[in-house]
């Protein structure tokens, strides 16, 4: 143990009244959307397994809402993680943080209305020209409303990132210094430089670019929707969409991992300091997350082949910082540490496993020769659910349990522990059912399945049921903690 163990709930994390209300809304919105979207996911798996009668029209609407909703929920909850910890080191304003949530809610309403009232079912990826080529099943207005919802959410995130960028530059001089680039090739690394600042700076740079690309293609698609003579190049649109989509969903991991750097040391008593390999890992990730997206286009043979090779190579290389820096660093941090197990610590370690293990099938699928037999099978939701469900979501839940504990002072209960292990079992069952189905060439995004594919659907449904039950337990525990008035009982710190 280090001489000075980190404090569990430092004063620098206390929240003013407005901040507390805003964070509560973020947490509750995130949890509610997660649970609702999980229910939609369960409906789809049960429908594929014929345990539920859902017609194709409704199935694809649900699929569209599930994809958009999960990406949105993960992003909004992850941005709360980033805001909560980053504000300890730089001066973040409350208004952009609140604006992000308000625009997210407005965007979500637009997306849900487009999907379930306008019957839009063009998938969360809105791949041109499908949104305007529905064969009469949804209107141009419904597609436009869906894309407008995305634009609202994107504007909110950009406001949040611009405020964070301004705050980081004010404190560190420029983004490069905040990333620690000055220590890559020499000089004594300042061990007090916060890992949270490094991760947040990477996110600010890359997700701003990703969202801008998304905004460009959304505006192009909106113009095309009402002026069809302004036709788009389908390959260019696909490149822009996958650049945006890949960056945006991956940033949920990079925002949420801040919770790992911040919280794990409090349970092990060992600080998580920056080092040269750590800084190299994040600098490399900054570049790699921007250039890896062609691995989504490996089956578009007309793409320049050098880009496809880059997609394969960078897919593999992107795993190195996880295997060598973050997951390895987490195991080093807990090894013979005398760790005090509590829900945030359990969830953090689970998240490291989910992230690292989920990368294995993803990297394999990122090889051109493998992609020829795995692309758009259930292998794909198998690997991304692996690192989102068992990686990102546990990071977010760790933060939420920590926040809840700061109000109530409560430690984990036996119920929490049981829920944790059921979540692990349900999650593994759920993702392995997808991977096994991908191995058997079961397509993804099919409303109707062949009888020989249904055992995978039913196994996945059982896993999803376990996940939802445990998510309800987590949600109840976290919300109950948040609703305690600050200063109640054994509250860790009172309101400022």
């Amino acid at each position: 143990m280090s001489a000075a163990s980190p404090v569990m709930h430092p004063e620098s994390e206390s929240l003013g009244r407005g901040e507390r209300i805003a964070v509560n809304f973020y947490v509750v919105s995130g949890l509610v959307v997660f649970v609702l979207m999980m229910l939609l996911g369960l409906v789809m798996r049960m429908a594929q397994g014929t345990w539920l009668d859902v017609g194709p029209v409704l199935f694809y609407q649900i699929m569209t809402a599930h994809g958009a909703g999960m990406v949105g929920a993960a992003s909004i909850a992850a941005s709360a993680v980033m805001w909560f910890f980053l504000r300890k080191y730089v001066r973040l304003r409350l208004a952009p943080f609140v604006a992000n949530l308000v625009l997210f809610v407005l965007g979500a309403v637009a997306i849900l209305a487009a999907t379930f009232i306008g019957q839009y079912a063009g998938a969360w990826t809105f791949l041109y020209p499908l949104p305007v080529h529905s064969m009469g099943l949804w209107s141009t207005d419904a597609a436009a409303l869906f894309m407008l919802g995305y634009l609202l959410i994107g504007v909110g995130f950009l406001l949040f990132y611009l405020d964070a960028m301004l705050a980081v530059v004010r404190r560190y001089g420029n983004l490069g210094r905040a990333l620690g680039l000055q220590w890559l090739f020499g000089g004594e690394v300042d061990r007090a430089h916060p890992p949270a600042v490094v991760a947040a700076t990477m996110v600010i740079i890359t997700n701003s670019l990703g969202i801008l690309a998304g905004a460009v293609v959304l505006v192009m698609c909106l113009i095309n929707a009402y002026f069809p003579s302004v036709a788009l190049n389908a390959l260019l649109a696909k490149n822009l969409i996958y650049f945006f989509g890949h960056v945006f969903i991956n940033e949920t991991i990079y925002m949420s991992v801040i919770a790992v750097y911040e919280l794990l040391p409090r349970f092990t008593g060992r600080p998580w300091s920056v080092s040269r390999p750590f800084l190299w890992g994040w600098a490399a990730s900054t570049v790699m997350v921007l250039i890896v997206y062609p691995h989504h286009l490996l089956m578009d043979y007309v793409m320049p082949h050098w880009m496809l090779v880059m997609g394969q190579v960078i897919s593999y290389a992107s795993g190195l910082p996880v295997f060598v820096v973050t997951a390895y660093g987490a195991l080093t941090n807990i090894h013979r540490s005398g760790i005090r197990w509590d829900m945030p610590a359990r969830l953090v370690i689970l998240s490291m496993f989910g992230w690292a293990a989920g990368i294995v099938p993803a990297i394999l699928d990122g090889m051109i020769s493998v992609n020829k037999v795995m692309h758009n099978t259930q292998w794909v939701p198998g690997h991304f659910h692996f690192y989102l469900l068992l990686g990102v979501l546990p990071m977010i839940l760790a933060f939420m349990y920590h926040l809840s504990g700061s109000r109530s002072g409560a430690r984990e209960s036996a119920g929490d522990r049981v829920a944790f292990f059921v979540y692990l079992a349900g999650g593994l069952g759920f993702v392995l059912a997808f991977l096994a189905a991908g191995h058997a060439s079961v397509p993804r995004r099919f409303a109707v399945h062949l009888p020989e594919w249904m055992p995978y659907d039913r196994a996945g449904s059982v896993g999803a049921m376990l996940l939802i039950v445990t998510m309800l337990v987590f949600t109840a525990r976290i919300v109950a903690g948040l609703l305690k008035a600050p200063g109640d009982g054994a509250a860790a710190h009172a309101v400022r």
Partner: protein
């Protein structure tokens, strides 16, 4: 079959990572000298990094040589050429009977939205695929060794009857083809 190799490699990889986590978790409760642990872990990490780097270079080289995709420009190369057009929600193939052991060149495009042109073998597993995109033609070349009925499914979501977008073609043995 490639799918089986990928499945086994995935299970092995996930299993190895799980063992690493279980090892660290099993030893997490007993406190030790943090600096000593870190020193040893950093020494191991260097070798771990180089092992991953070398493994990655080897796997990249092995998987890209020969390059797994055909050249996309130039004259038709294969003795059997079939033009494929995807529509919402059907496939149009210019031929549906080909000879085993002789390369087939699929020239795949779409006249509306993006589709995925995936060929399923007689055993119900994918043998290869490419995308069908409006305004572009992807050239896929495949030599089928196994005679039988092959199924084409759309693997890129293309609207509400996406799952019903299917076609079939037949691969016949060379001797049978010459008799008919």
């Amino acid at each position: 079959m490639l799918q089986d190799q990928v499945w086994l490699a995935t299970l092995a990889g996930i299993g190895a990572i799980a063992l690493g986590f279980l090892y660290a978790i099993a030893r997490a409760r007993s406190p030790g000298d943090g600096q000593q642990v870190q020193k040893r872990a950093y020494a191991v990490r260097r070798w771990w990094f180089f092992a991953l780097l070398l493994g990655g270079i080897g796997a990249t080289w092995a998987s890209l040589d020969p390059f797994p995709l055909p050249l996309q420009y130039g004259p038709d190369e294969a003795p059997q050429v079939v033009r494929v057009v995807g529509h919402q929600w059907s496939w149009q193939l210019s031929g549906n009977r080909f000879t085993a052991g002789v390369p087939v060149e699929f020239l795949v495009t779409s006249d509306d939205v993006n589709h995925g042109f995936a060929i399923y073998g007689p055993d119900g597993r994918i043998v290869t695929q490419t995308q069908a995109m409006p305004g572009y033609t992807n050239r896929l070349i495949r030599t089928f060794s196994q005679p039988g009925r092959y199924r084409v499914l759309c693997l890129a979501y293309c609207g509400v009857a996406h799952h019903g977008m299917a076609a079939e073609f037949e691969i016949v043995a060379a001797e049978e083809r010459s008799r008919s």
